[in-house]
């Protein structure tokens, strides 16, 4: 039994204001304070800030695409590249930032074993991965024939056999179009299988996943990523979900207006206004920060467009019956007008969004910036002064073509914790974390109160996982902690021969070896699905 004494406790489940009081912990969980016993250990936390540990909802730290990306950073001392830490290092670095739950955003089922072997190495944090299926041939085929029962089974089977936690859609149909030398389909354009459109795929997949009762709804990467003027299409995509629950990822890359010059301007207001109509949606922002970045995405259409503009080497790997893995190194420059607008748009989205528990901070690591820049972003959110100073350092397009300069809002600490812990945990369906109510996991971060916001968030005083301090004074202890979180939605075993014959017609690998190949995953925890029937 441990008591954390004397701190300012932020419990996002009870609003944004701090509460004084002691926090009691037993067997790795938070309990109601007891009067009748003497605790074994009292942690003196006077002058400290206590909050639930961070929950990362969208990052890229595992799997085959990351191996490809590492090929692009080979040089002496390559291990120190903050963009591409090894999975083991990534887990450490997240712990040092106060995050104890990390979700990798994409696994291609065919390469699922690569992701699993990387996840295994991420000791110290709870982690999981989302399964890519926006271009999965079997799924699209089922959706095209409007056989929703079969589509649900395929989704459930794909997520289970890949060891995933949720379903991810990346510009549905875009990969298929690229393989066939076509431009990526618009929302209401046929994707090349029957009369199926991207709108249909989004709508039906979201419906199917919600019917399966998976803990995290569909994780959506929409169409037209990175194109000036794509905010219109994005808002239409949001409406296409028809008020169903879903998560939209790195929406900064979809929130651009079209400047009369043909370049970027911010479309943040329009996007935020549209999101307000649909309170069941959650988003993460995908903030960019200036400096080196590495594009790691399954969206071949968007990346090939970028690559043709930059004329830089890229690695593009197409996966049979699925999407692709694409890698392109990038650098965001403060004096580049496009990059400056992108940077300001992300901040604008965060600042305009009224509910921090629905719009989360991510950098789409390593696409926008390494996750180690979170403290810097938080500082920009919490201090208008810092924001205006930063605005002076970047191209004036950030002032002229976005509304950032006029925004006066400053996030409070409580809002930051809601944004980085409570919101993502709730969106992920993890009710046991992101707050400090009795029964919650004792995943806690502790900061020493100070004026330097960036410095405070960059170096927590200590971080606790399951009631044990795993990071303190620069030392990380990851041994034996953390589980791989999986969802295993129910699916009809009778459909197996059907799926098997369909799949074997499409791929070059035997069904038995597909995805994890029947490997028993170790050290997993299944988060239950709450299906309410179809």
């Amino acid at each position: 039994m441990i008591v954390i004494h004397g701190a300012e406790v932020y419990n996002p489940a009870r609003g944004h204001a701090p509460q004084p009081g002691d926090l009691w912990i037993e067997d790795g969980r938070i309990i109601t304070p007891r009067q009748d016993v003497i605790p074994e250990q009292v942690i003196d936390a006077r002058g400290m800030i206590i909050a639930p540990a961070g929950v990362e909802i969208h990052t890229h730290v595992t799997g085959y695409p990351l191996s490809l990306a590492r090929r692009f950073t080979l040089s002496e001392g390559c291990r120190k590249n903050p963009l591409l830490p090894s999975p083991e290092e990534a887990a450490r670095l997240y712990l040092q930032l106060g995050y104890t739950t990390v979700f990798d955003a994409a696994t291609s089922p065919l390469y699922a074993f690569s992701s699993y072997s990387d996840l295994r190495q991420m000791e110290g944090v709870d982690r999981g991965t989302f399964v890519l299926a926006g271009d999965h041939h079997l799924l699209l085929q089922a959706l095209a024939s409007n056989d929703m029962d079969y589509a649900r089974n395929i989704i459930a089977w794909l997520v289970s056999c890949s060891g995933g936690y949720a379903l991810k859609l990346v510009n549905p149909g875009g990969g298929l179009a690229w393989k066939n030398h076509r431009k990526a389909p618009d929302l209401d354009e046929g994707i090349g299988i029957g009369t199926l459109t991207q709108r249909d795929v989004l709508k039906r997949c979201v419906q199917a996943v919600n019917q399966l009762g998976m803990p995290h709804p569909v994780h959506i990467h929409a169409g037209q990523l990175g194109q000036p003027g794509n905010a219109v299409n994005f808002c239409n995509s949001i409406r296409a979900l028809e008020s169903q629950r879903a998560h939209l990822c790195h929406i900064q890359f979809f929130s651009y207006g079209l400047d009369p010059s043909g370049g970027y301007r911010s479309g943040a207001e329009e996007v935020v206004r549209t999101l307000e109509e649909f309170p069941q949606l959650t988003c993460d922002v995908g903030q960019i920060m200036f400096g080196d970045a590495m594009t790691v995405t399954a969206d071949t259409s968007a990346l090939s467009r970028l690559q043709q503009g930059l004329k830089k080497p890229w690695i593009s790997n197409q996966v049979e019956a699925e999407g692709g893995n694409n890698i392109l190194p990038l650098k965001y420059a403060p004096k580049d007008p496009s990059n400056a607008v992108q940077w300001a748009t992300g901040l604008e989205l965060l600042l305009l969004s009224p509910d921090p528990a629905r719009m989360f901070l991510t950098t789409d690591h390593p696409n926008g910036a390494p996750f180690e820049t979170y403290p810097q972003v938080i500082e920009l959110l919490m201090s208008r002064e810092a924001r205006l100073e930063a605005l002076q350092q970047v191209h004036r397009a950030a002032r002229d073509r976005t509304g950032l300069a006029a925004i006066e809002r400053e996030y409070s600490l409580g809002e930051i914790f809601a944004m980085t812990s409570f919101g993502p945990a709730r969106s992920l369906g993890l009710n046991d974390r992101g707050h400090l109510e009795p029964g919650a996991l004792a995943d806690i971060r502790c900061y020493r109160k100070q004026a330097d916001i960036c410095g405070m968030f960059a170096s927590p005083e200590w971080v606790m996982k399951n009631g044990r301090i795993v990071y303190q004074n620069g030392r990380v202890d990851t041994q034996g902690f953390g589980e791989i979180l999986v969802a295993r939605p129910k699916w009809d075993q009778d459909q197996l021969p059907h799926i098997k014959s369909d799949l074997e017609n499409r791929i070059s690998i035997s069904f038995d070896l597909y995805a994890l190949g029947g490997t028993k995953m170790e050290n997993t925890r299944e988060v239950p699905c709450t299906s309410t029937g179809f």
């Binding site: 080979l74 040089s75 002496e76 390559c78």
Partner: protein
């Protein structure tokens, strides 16, 4: 001041001098030098375990390495001033990252001599290994300034990715001299191996004889270029003896590599027809 570091008899195995700025030794006492940490692969040592240290007054500032110097790697790593003298063979990566001063190697030098150097002068009386004046592994930019003079032969990938500066070799060099060169000058009085200048964007390769010309290069006739006279004259002043034939007739010029920027040139006095 003259600091002499002489290896002890019982010294075996490779020793990395990375992390020791040799010119900075002039500001240290004998005891302080003795206590400097050394990297013997990864086991920690101090300098005094491996070297006898002798400090003498002299006219110029000079660090002398002597004894069994064959396995001393990273001699003169990152040096920016002064003079470092290796009385014998040097190991790998000598003079890598140096930005000034002078490094003299009386014997042969190992691989990766002067990798990523940005200034200063390296003179080798014997041969040099592969990747002399080249880029760090995985980087595209090689040496960005300075001079490397070699009395003997050079290995392969001489001046790979070189951006600026001069490498002169009195003997022959192996394959892929000037590969992926960005600019600069490589001069080889003897024979240059195959694949010379592959992927070069700008810059000049000068060879007495060249083994083969890649298809990315096109013949551009005899070239009596003034800059070459300038360089040859400068090299003669720095102790190189030019073959008589070089001064009599102009070299043949090939421009390329057309598969890169194509602004480079190979000047050869003899080449396969």
């Amino acid at each position: 001041m003259r600091v002499v570091l002489e290896t002890r008899q019982d010294c075996t195995g490779p020793i990395s001098l990375k992390g020791i700025n040799l010119p900075a030794l002039f500001h240290l006492s004998q005891g302080e030098i003795w206590q400097l940490p050394l990297n013997h692969l990864s086991q920690p040592f101090v300098l005094g375990d491996v070297f006898k240290v002798d400090i003498r007054d002299s006219d110029g500032d000079e660090v002398v390495l002597r004894g069994d110097t064959r396995l001393l790697h990273y001699c003169g790593y990152g040096m920016d001033s002064g003079r470092v003298m290796v009385e014998g063979d040097a190991g790998a990566c000598a003079g890598s990252g140096m930005s000034g001063g002078e490094l003299v190697i009386e014997g042969n030098a190992g691989d990766c001599l002067g990798v990523a150097m940005s200034g200063g002068k390296i003179s080798v009386q014997g041969n040099t290994g592969d990747w002399c004046g080249a880029a760090l592994a995985g980087e595209s930019k090689g040496m960005t300034g300075g001079v490397i003079l070699t009395g003997g032969n050079a290995g392969s990938n001489l001046g790979n990715g070189m951006r600026r500066g001069l490498i002169a070799v009195a003997g022959n060099c192996k394959n892929y001299a000037g590969s992926c060169m960005l600019a600069g000058t490589i001069l080889c009085l003897g024979e240059m191996g195959a694949g010379a200048g592959v992927g070069m964007q700008r810059g000049s390769l000068v060879a007495g004889t060249i083994q083969s010309i890649l298809p990315g290069f096109s013949p551009a006739g005899l070239a009596d270029t003034g800059w070459l006279r300038l360089y040859l004259n400068w090299l003669e002043e720095n102790g190189f003896t030019m073959p008589a034939s070089w001064l009599e007739k102009p070299p043949y010029r090939f421009s390329g590599d057309h598969l890169a920027a194509g602004k480079g040139e190979i000047l050869a006095y003899e080449f396969p027809q």
